[in-house]
């Protein structure tokens, strides 16, 4: 029998490796490489073009003393906090309602989910219109008789973020409802039967049995919502343009404006690095929970 040389390790499965080149390039060059590059250059004083003059934490000092940035962070936290809570609560309640073997389930789901199919720009613009003080909700309620009724969030620095919240919830809750409903439907029907035989009332079954069983779904949904919140951009641009003044600024806007309009790349890099850090703070514990324990188990 003729001796056969072992194929070179690299040549093994060559087609697959070639086919995976885009993925490898993307992962390494764009995702990993791009991220590292930005973080690195956040320590420079790049202005219009990237410059290799390293200035330590200068950009970050400037960032954290910039009132516009501080407002962005505050807005994001407020929006994020309420968005998370309300989206989860509303999404879950609607899912519970949908889980009750109701009629017209498809109709209700279609109605609840269509906002998710729209662009954030569309969402922002239509809610801008609805919240318009002259023609929108405020004027209608006034027209009904409550002449001193005020509801003009988009022109009020203190509550503009809630105007954004209403729009954000409108778009996102239907989607979370779908995720929750899928989770609810994944629960063994026999658990419900056992609880009924035990005489546990429906609300208690949800509270003490079902919700704890849905912990993984809640956590995954939370991570998904959180990563979406950080990226908040289109909605704000469309609905309020960051206003009134700087009152509804968000970090993503800060990054874009400084990177592409104020010719201050360094600030843009620093700001996006901060955004990255805040996501990692959520992401890394979750990844460890989901995958790490399995590897070491």
């Amino acid at each position: 029998m003729a001796a056969q040389t072992r194929p070179n390790r690299i040549l093994r499965n060559l087609n697959s490796k070639i086919a995976a080149i885009p993925m490898v390039l993307t992962a390494l060059v764009v995702f990993l490489g791009g991220t590292l590059w930005t973080v690195l250059y956040s320590f420079t004083d790049s202005k219009l073009l990237p410059r290799e003059r390293f200035v330590g934490f200068d950009q970050y000092e400037r960032l954290w003393t910039n009132s516009r940035w501080l407002i962005s962070i505050e807005n994001l936290m407020v929006f994020g906090f309420f968005s998370l809570i309300f989206t989860l609560v509303i999404g879950f309640l609607l899912a519970v309602a949908m889980d009750q073997k109701i009629r017209y389930e498809d109709t209700f789901r279609t109605i609840m989910l269509y906002p998710f199919a729209l662009s954030f720009v569309v969402t922002g613009l239509v809610w801008q219109w609805i919240l318009n003080p002259q023609f929108g909700v405020q004027s209608i309620i006034r027209g009904l008789g409550w002449t001193s009724f005020t509801f003009d969030p988009l022109n009020n620095q203190d509550i503009v973020i809630y105007g954004l919240l209403i729009a954000g919830l409108w778009q996102g809750t239907g989607f979370v409802m779908c995720l929750m409903l899928a989770g609810l439907r994944g629960i063994d029907e026999d658990i419900w039967k056992a609880a009924k035989v035990d005489g546990i009332p429906t609300w208690k079954t949800y509270y003490k049995i079902i919700i704890p069983m849905m912990r993984p779904v809640f956590i995954t949904t939370l991570v998904i919502i959180a990563s979406g919140i950080i990226r908040l951009y289109d909605l704000v641009v469309a609905q309020t343009s960051g206003g009134p003044g700087n009152a509804s600024q968000v970090p993503a806007m800060y990054v874009y404006d400084y990177m592409f309009q104020a010719q201050n790349l360094g600030q843009g890099f620093a700001a996006s690095t901060m955004m990255l850090l805040s996501v990692l703070v959520v992401l890394i514990p979750w990844a460890y929970l989901e995958f790490g324990s399995k590897k070491h188990g």
Partner: protein, 359 residues
């Protein structure tokens, strides 16, 4: 005499399709009734109706003299054990056992007493502080039974509790359930598709098909005197041999091709002359002989010999029909051998071809 469970004219329709049709059953106190049948026959559905988990369309359900047709499951005096165990995953075993009682505001000392008793009976005391995830399948099933036990009820409902277990565990737990029954003497209604479970556990078996009870009798009765073709073919493994022919000469003989079988000793008494009938013979009620005995034997040719440890199953062809006969394993037979099968007519069953009923 008050029955433990009484089902009257129970009908269940989903839309226009009737899933359970006019069922009537009476279960005596302490009786172990098995609902047996193929998938879709309605046995689980019937159990769920008894439990109150499904609303019925017509009829009544009585448990211990109380009309519970509209009562909630927890008010019917029943405990239930599910195929998938349905244990609450984030509670300990103790939590699982006591959850329903806590909800019913049973005082704590009483709860502890009942949990301890159930744990002792089912031998799960060392498991009380573990969570279901840390238990084996057999242990989980015991906890599931325990959950029904602590409810201090007289009626236990089992919905295919052993189907998720492997064969060895299944036979172990089967024995345990039987032991449990003899110790507690509760009324038990048990759903399964496994004949062995039915035959070994039941005081009476209800064989179901298409939403109707085909026969409700003691296991041996069902085995020896099946009331119709379906029951005859369903019970018994390998299944009964069926020979299609007719009764002739005023019912004196059963004719099947050229063979005539004398029906004088048939247990069903005198058989009238019918045209088409089916003779049912279990593999163990046939013996292999090498000499013909007119009126008592069927000529056949050996096809295959399947030795199975203690017995052998011999497959033969008789007048174009495949038959099986059980013999001691020492009786080896070569394929192609011509033999004569002696019929034990006293143990046979005859069915009318049209109605499929026993005659």
């Amino acid at each position: 005499m008050q029955h433990s469970i009484s089902v009257k004219d129970l009908t269940l329709k989903f839309g226009t399709a009737a899933v359970l049709k006019n069922l009537n059953i009476d279960v005596a106190e302490g009786e172990f009734v098995v609902l047996l049948g193929p998938s879709g026959c309605g046995k689980s559905t019937l159990l769920n109706c008894l439990a109150g988990l499904l609303d019925i369309t017509d009829g009544q359900i009585w448990i211990k003299g109380k009309n519970v047709t509209w009562a909630e499951p927890s008010e019917r005096g029943i405990g239930m054990v599910f195929q998938s165990y349905a244990l609450y995953p984030q509670m300990t075993v103790r939590g699982n056992l006591s959850f329903g009682l806590k909800n019913a505001k049973v005082p704590k000392p009483e709860i502890d007493k009942r949990v301890a008793r159930a744990a002792e009976i089912l031998q799960i005391e060392p498991l009380l502080d573990r969570k279901p995830g840390a238990l084996s399948g057999g242990q989980r099933q015991r906890v599931a039974i325990g959950r029904a036990l602590v409810r201090d009820v007289d009626v236990f409902l089992f919905d295919e509790p052993l189907s998720n277990l492997d064969a060895k565990l299944r036979s172990e737990l089967r024995v345990e359930i039987k032991r449990l029954h003899s110790r507690l003497n509760n009324t038990m209604v048990y759903v399964t598709h496994d004949q062995i479970e039915a035959l070994t556990l039941a005081d009476r078996i209800a064989v179901m098909r298409g939403g109707i009870i085909q026969q409700l009798d003691a296991p041996q009765t069902i085995y020896n005197r099946p009331l119709n073709l379906f029951v005859a073919g369903f019970i018994g493994s390998p299944s009964m041999n069926f020979l299609h022919g007719s009764t002739v000469e005023n019912g004196r003989y059963f004719q099947f091709s050229d063979t005539k079988i004398d029906l004088v000793d048939y247990e069903g008494g005198a058989v009238m002359e019918r045209h088409k009938a089916i003779l049912g013979l279990r593999p163990e009620h046939l013996t292999i002989h090498h000499q013909a005995e007119p009126g008592h034997t069927i000529p056949a040719v050996v096809e295959i010999d399947e030795p199975m440890g203690a017995d052998s199953l011999i497959w033969l062809v008789a007048n174009g029909v495949q038959m099986s006969v059980r013999v001691p394993v020492e009786h080896r037979l070569r394929p192609g051998t011509e033999v004569h099968l002696k019929v034990d007519i006293a143990k046979a069953s005859i069915f009318d071809t049209g109605t499929e009923q026993r005659v």
